[in-house]
Structure formats: structure tokens, C-alpha cells
């Protein structure tokens, strides 16, 4: 229970801080969006791992950082090659987010 509260609270703090940060360049929004998706995937994956008691801090942190950077890099590479590679990141992370959410849902259903 405490975990959900802390997650929600930190998310609110993050949103509040983020709204104070100045607007970034329009060109970057495309990479940022993929990075946001990667971060969302990492967080949900982390929550799932935590619930399944298979959470590994190193894996979580590196996964978060690497996924975000790789996704943004992939989108940039796609732009260079004129291939919409960011779609691959969107599809992969989207699928994984849904899978992880489904797992979390089942876990919660079992628990309560």
C-alpha cells in the first residue's frame, strides 16, 4: 500500500517540477516521446518485478536508462536513415506495457 502512495506522490512531484522546466525545442519532442514511453515501460516492469519478488535494482536502473536512451537513439537513427524506426520502439514498449499491466492486474486479483 505504501508503495502505491509513494509512487503516486513522486509522480506528482515529478509532474510539478516538470511543469516549471522551460519548454524544449520542437525537434526533440519526437525523441522525448519515445524516451517517455521507455521510462513508462521500465517503471511498470519494475512494479511487476517488485510484486513478483524478482526485483533487481541494477537491472531496473540500467534498464530504465538504457531503454530510454536506446529508444531515443533509435528514433534519431531512423530520422537519419529516413525510416520511421521510432515506431518499432512504440510497438515494443506499448506491447510490453500492456503485458506488464496485465500481469500486475492478475497478481492483484490473486492477492485480494
Amino acid at each position: 500500500m505504501w508503495m502505491w502512495l509513494s509512487i503516486f506522490f513522486c509522480l506528482l512531484i515529478g509532474l510539478f517540477v516538470g511543469l516549471q522546466v522551460p519548454v524544449m525545442s520542437f525537434v526533440l519532442t519526437k525523441y522525448m516521446s519515445v524516451a517517455v514511453l521507455a521510462a513508462l515501460d521500465s517503471v511498470i516492469g519494475g512494479i511487476r518485478a517488485y510484486m513478483e519478488d524478482t526485483f533487481d535494482l541494477t537491472v531496473f536502473i540500467t534498464g530504465f536508462l538504457m531503454n530510454a536512451l536506446l529508444a531515443a537513439g533509435l528514433a534519431y537513427l531512423g530520422d537519419l536513415l529516413r525510416i520511421e524506426l521510432y515506431l518499432a520502439a512504440v510497438v515494443v514498449f506499448g506491447t510490453r506495457i500492456f503485458q506488464n499491466l496485465g500481469t500486475i492486474r492478475r497478481f492483484l486479483l490473486k492477492k485480494y
Binding site: C10, L12, G14, L19, V23, F26, A39, L40, G46, Y50
Partner: protein
Amino acid sequence: MVQSRGAQISIAVVCMILGIMLAVQYNTTVFHKASMIPTTQSIENIAAMLDSSTKENEALNEKVASLTLQLDNVRQVDQALADLQKELVNTQKIAGLSELEGPGLVITVNDRPNNLQNNNNPNEDLIHEADLLMLINELKASGAEAITLNNERITAMTEVRCAGPVIIVNQNRIGTPFVISAMGNPDLLESGMNLGGGIFRQLKFQGFEISMEKSELIQMPANNQQPKFVFGKSK
């Protein structure tokens, strides 16, 4: 438990970073507005706008072409008007309807001083309209461009007519001394008047007070008698 606490903290921190990223992304998207992010709908709108702009452009191009044509026509009309204006000025000059200035010759002629002792006919001491007409004729022959008689412009239809003690020119009475101004090359006019047997010489010989003087600048009034055409119709 320690493991669990670390996991909780790390997830919370990552959540905070995620929140920051989300907020920045949202802010940026809102700031740059939907119009700058091409969506299918906006692309269709832009395509339609481009289409209508192209059509408008074509219509405007046609308008430019027609206006250019019109402008050309107007220029031609302007040119024609300018030509007409020039012609009008020239014709007015010829008809004596405009004021003139220029070099020329001024002849002053007066009656013979009365010599009653001679018991002559006083008529013979006077300058008559025929003398003036002959002088004017001589000046015309010598290349005068325009002539005035006592400031009355001599035109094609000007009468020089005896009316008792005065002479009528342009329906105005004039008397002695008569001043005939002729516009033209002063030297040519002078030599023309000095021809032997000419009217100038004759009048001088007969003892009339007659003299001529070259002038650098003669001012000539316009003929204010507007010619009226009642019977004559232009063909």
C-alpha cells in the same frame, strides 16, 4: 525488507523522473500547438489551402495579365492624348490663338508731317490701310512667323480696313503711329524690307516717318477674336 525498501525508493525516484519527462513533453507539445505537428487532418487542410492558394494565384495572374493589357491601352491613349495636345498647341500657334515671344523686327510708321504750305491734298500725307497691308505682306514674304499691328494679332482672317480717321483691325480701331511687329529672323526680315523698290523704301522716299528696329524679344498677344464657323463645315 532492505531489498524491498531499496526497490520502493528506486521505483519512486524513477517515477519522479518519468513525471518530469511527461510534464516537459506535455508542456512542449502544448506550447508548439497542434498546428505544428503534422497530423493527417492538418495535412489535408494544408493541401486544401495550397490548392485554393494555387487557384487564387492563377486567377490573380490572369488579372495581372488583363491589367497589364489595360495599362498598355491606357499608355497608348495617353500617348495619343499627348500627341493631340502637341498638335493643338501647334495649331493654336498657327491660328494666332496663343501668346508668343521671340526675336523679330519692329517697324514704326507715321503720317507725313503736315506741310500745308505745299497746298497738297492732305490725304496724300496719311498712311492708308493699303500701305499697312503692303508692309504686312512684305513681312510675310520675308519669312515672318507672326505679325501684330498695334498689338493686334494679324491672323488669316484679320481685316485691315479704312474707317475714316482710324483703321479697323480685328474689329478694333487703331491709329497712328502704327507699330508693326514681326516675329522671325531679324536679319532676314530687315534685309527683306530693305529690298530696292519695296514698300518700306517707297514710304521712306515719299517722306513718311518710317523706321525699323531689330528686337531680341517681342511679346505678342493672342488673337482674342474667336473665329466662328456658321457656314463652313469641316469635311
